[in-house]
């Protein structure tokens, strides 16, 4: 009888403790879902100067008609300048990033990496990883 009770208690405890577990791809999957199959229009770019104690902020209104980019569900990306390629959303040392392998309209390959500052259903902020002042790009969907 004791054995039966023990098994019962163990089964109940296991059921209580077993949860849907977060996997290594949960965060990137969620971000991918928010990112894909939309046209992201660049509204603003902000360049922050890093060589001063009080950073100089240069805000420039780009306007939605100037530039947009699309991330497709199949891992491809294309933008309004005719640049195409592939992309992956990655989580590296806790930092969410978009890695793009692109080709110019002339066929020259190049890689760009963006840090994801924030991504949502209708707005996104990316930071371009380049040497010098960081450039933040503010996108919205229409």
């Amino acid at each position: 009888m004791k054995t039966l009770y023990t098994i019962l208690i163990a089964a109940i405890s296991l059921t209580m403790l077993s949860c849907n577990k977060e996997t290594s791809t949960t965060q990137t999957n969620v971000m991918n879902n928010l990112l894909t199959n939309k046209n992201w229009y660049l509204d603003y770019s902000i360049i922050e100067a890093t060589n001063s104690t009080t950073p100089v902020v240069v805000k420039s209104y780009v306007g939605q008609s100037t530039y947009f980019i699309t991330y497709l569900k199949n891992g491809e990306t294309k933008d309004s300048d005719g640049i195409t390629g592939t992309y992956t959303v990655e989580l590296i040392n806790g930092q969410s990033q978009i890695h793009k392998q692109l080709k110019t309209s002339n066929g020259n390959p190049f890689e760009v990496i963006y840090n994801i500052i924030s991504v949502g259903e209708s707005n996104m902020v990316l930071s371009k990883l380049v040497s010098g002042p960081a450039t933040k790009l503010y996108f919205t969907t229409k």
């Binding site: 949860c19 577990k21 977060e22 969620v30 971000m31 969410s96 500052i117 924030s118 503010y138």
Partner: protein, 261 residues
């Protein structure tokens, strides 16, 4: 035509009678296998008999048990604290935050009885379809362009399996021989059996088990049915990066199974 019908009825009656007689004869005479089986030990049956005996011994003080079926409407709201989320995700606050109670339902069965002929109790098992309004405690923004968002999107429709153990205190209201009013208190436990979305799992936020404190009143109409109103205040049973407080009001009715079937 009439003669044919009469003949067929007669034939049918004889056939049914023959089947009945043969089956009753079969019931009286055991087959060789059944006769052998009667002398054999049945470990399964023996174990069941022991369990029943043991349960009867253990629960000797739990008397007057009545099984009832019940159903209820449930108004639910969850309060969400998303400060533990580090993923750079935003959901527009006004799109998600309803700050209201939404309607769900539940159904199950309960056992009402008396412990040591003094303390009334109710044990219940139910399936709950919860549709919860959501209140997000924190509002984030990302100046200069993104205002009022939350980092987390909670599942607001889900199904749980719940068990509850309630202590019932008879209240000295009205004619207690006819109508009984009870104050009810006790714990309950909910376990999510529906799938959890990926949004809900992010940064270790996902959790399936709730522990609740239940408070309420019940009205017993001469033993025909019980009307009840319960308030449940629930929290995740284990730690989560996004603590959720689940508030529920349940209004329902239970009827004894022996009156139903």
């Amino acid at each position: 035509m009439g003669t044919t019908n009469t003949l067929s009825y007669k034939f049918l009656s004889i056939l049914i009678f023959t089947i009945f007689v043969s089956s009753s004869m079969n019931a009286q005479t055991l087959t060789k296998k059944q006769q052998d089986s009667a002398f054999l030990l049945h470990p399964g049956q023996e174990r069941m008999r022991k369990i029943k005996k043991s349960l009867a011994k253990t629960f000797v003080n739990f008397t007057g048990n009545e099984v009832s079926l019940y159903g209820a409407l449930a108004l639910s709201k969850q309060n969400i604290d998303d400060n533990g989320i580090t993923a750079p995700i935003n959901y527009l606050y006004n799109n998600l935050n309803s700050n209201s109670f939404n309607t769900g339902f539940n159904g199950g069965f309960r056992i009402d009885g008396i412990y040591k002929e003094k303390h009334r109790y109710a044990l219940s098992l139910a399936v709950n379809r919860i549709s919860a309004g959501t209140y997000y405690k924190n509002i984030h923004n990302l100046p200069p362009f993104i205002d009022d968002f939350t980092h987390f999107k909670a599942d607001n429709v889900f199904t749980t399996l719940s068990i509850a153990a309630h202590y019932k205190k008879l209240l000295p209201v009205n004619d207690m021989n006819k109508y009984k009013f009870y104050a009810v208190i006790g714990p309950s436990f909910d376990y999510k059996i529906s799938s959890i979305s990926e949004e809900n799992l992010i940064n270790g936020a996902g959790n399936r088990a709730f522990i609740n404190l239940d408070l309420g009143t019940e009205f017993d109409n001469k033993g025909y049915y019980i009307l009840f109103a319960h308030y449940k205040l629930g929290n995740y049973i284990s730690s989560s990066t996004v603590p959720v407080q689940l508030n529920r009001f349940e209004i329902g009715m239970s009827i004894k199974t022996k009156d139903l079937f």
